[in-house]
Amino acid sequence: MSMTPILETRNLHRRFRVSQGHFKPKATLQAVNGVDLSVQRGETLGIVGESGCGKSTLAQMLLGLLPATSGEVRLDGRPIADLRRVDFARRVQPIFQDPFSSLNPRKTLLDIVTMPLRVHAIGSRAEQEARARTLMDRVGLPAGFADRYPKELSGGQRQRVAIARALVMQPDVVICDEPTSALDASVQSQILNLLMELKADFGLTYVFISHNLSVVEHIADHVAVMYLGRVVEKAPVDAIFDAPQHPYTRALLDSVLTVAPDAGVPELALGPGFPNPLRPAPGCPFHPRCPRAFEPCSTIPPTPVPAEGRGAACHLTEMTPRGAAA
């Protein structure tokens, strides 16, 4: 546990100025609000949360595509702001959600997969292509596909291409932002299997973002739960699923619809207040919906979850001793 995490964030913030329509002044939106996370080499960190809670924004910042408003992202302990763009790019690569928009429709698959090599001028043209073909083979794309265009591929095949592109430079960390949400169940399982195999083969570290808790449970080692830009709970995967501490995590788990013909539709104790990211509630942002909210929740923000270790940002858990802490 004393090892330097391969990727970590320190008090990461990201604000957007958003227009609320023509007639109103711009408002500030805290998309990511003081996130502390760390990922150890070789592990998979799952991030879950509802739509709009800041998962993708976080992913963009982890990829260095979006500058942080404050706080920093560190790779091997070094702030990525100090790294050259290209050097960072060699080590951290993305897989995105939408298999349709993640491939340039005007390029052949071979062009798409060799693109990073070309950008970095690694090897000769022939070497680049050879490497790309090897990888395409590895992710299970038929050999004849090299000269095809993305539009001829199914969603699953596209996602394989995206994976090949991400891996062609042999990165250490892969940030997967909902890589299977757009896929059918039967294809999703293929991609998940592939990701798990590749992780073992290449010794990859994953940050795996999803709103599908079953998937995260299946693939992740650690899980962070986000709500309105904050990490509200973080723990090893068993702990989260077996003994969720934060009421939101519990609600989330309850609302997962696993195959259970007799279970019926779960009854959620959540209040109806829909979160408005532009006007988050004071104190604990979850308190308007929280079934167990009590007096300090509406005024005092709970202590954030530390980067290392586990815990929940909740006044309820603060009163009981934290689990095996950092």
């Binding site: 963009q60 595509l65 928009s101 950008v119």
Partner: protein, 302 residues
């Protein structure tokens, strides 16, 4: 979104898939408007290129004694001058053939200039957004608020009419549509994940703009270009018609119409011939443009 999952016929899954080029060739063949329009345009381009070979006479040689000879199908017409002669006794067919050169050259050249300006501005605005976009939008608004014909007329009046000036003026004035469309599309594209992937791979902005964004604009660019070429050709004709475009004796169709208009009540063919040629060319270009648009977005939107 309609799933375009590729085909795998049942008995032998994953078997022969049609090659993309054959597929699009077939789709082109299924676009009658593209075929007809494109055919006419190509024909006109060929005529323009081979004008010296095709024209039966020198388009500039006048014969003041044999003026306004009617076309061959009228009384008094002759096979010597199939479409007759103009008010200075020049062979009308030859002038018409050379006129295609002027119209097409001005159309293409002006739109090339406009395309470069508009695309560059649109790309920058759409891709970078924020301040850059504000500047681009502002420039476009200013441009749009200028009455284009009037400004073109004024500039041509100041600097004199010639093919070069007309090309430059139209090129400098007609970039707005390129900018608007490219900006919107580039803004859309730059939010797509393949751009993020390229960024994440460390690609430079220049690389992204030229290799990832620009190629995807090609279809729109072609469609706008056809519309704009047609409109530039018409605008040149209008300028020449008003006497402020290409100057005589250059055989521009607009100029031919302008010169023939004085004769329209007595020798209607003098104005009808270049008028029809012009309308046909513009019609064909627009038709081809429509076909291209349908080819690119089969649901016929926008």
């Amino acid at each position: 979104m309609t799933d375009t999952t590729p085909t795998a016929s049942i008995p032998t899954p994953g078997a022969s898939m049609k090659s993309p080029s054959r597929l699009s060739l077939r789709r082109i063949a299924e676009q009658p408007s593209l075929l007809v329009g494109g055919g006419i345009v190509v024909l006109m381009i060929l005529i323009a290129i081979f004008a010296p070979l095709l024209a039966p006479h020198d388009p500039f040689v006048q014969n003041i004694a044999a003026r306004t000879v009617p076309p061959v199908w009228y009384d008094g017409g002759s096979w010597e001058h199939i479409l007759g002669t103009d008010q200075l006794g020049r062979d009308y067919l030859s002038r018409l053939i050379y006129g295609a050169r002027i119209s097409l050259f001005i159309g293409f050249a002006a739109v090339a200039i406009a395309g470069v300006i508009g695309t560059t501005l649109g790309l920058l605005g759409g891709y970078f957004g924020g301040r850059v976009d504000m500047v681009v939008t502002f420039l476009t608004t200013v441009r749009l608020s200028l009455p284009i014909i009037l400004v073109a007329l004024a500039i041509v009046a100041i600097f004199g009419g010639s093919v070069t000036i007309v090309v430059i003026v139209l090129g400098l004035l007609k970039w707005d549509r390129f900018a608007v469309v490219v900006r919107a599309t580039a803004a859309q594209i730059s939010r797509l994940d393949y751009i993020n992937s390229a960024k994440a791979a460390g690609a430079s902005t220049f690389y992204i703009l030229t290799r990832e964004v620009l190629p995807n604009l090609a279809p729109q660019l072609i469609v706008i270009a056809t519309i704009e070429i047609a409109s530039a050709i018409l605008m040149e004709a209008a300028l020449s018609f008003l006497g402020l475009g290409v100057q005589p004796p250059t055989p521009s169709w607009g100029l031919m119409i302008s010169e023939a208009k004085n004769y329209m009540f007595f020798s209607f063919w003098l104005i009808a011939i270049p008028g029809t040629a012009l309308a046909l060319l513009v019609f064909a270009i627009n038709l081809a443009g429509d076909g291209l648009r349908d080819l690119i977005s089969p649901d016929g939107r926008g």
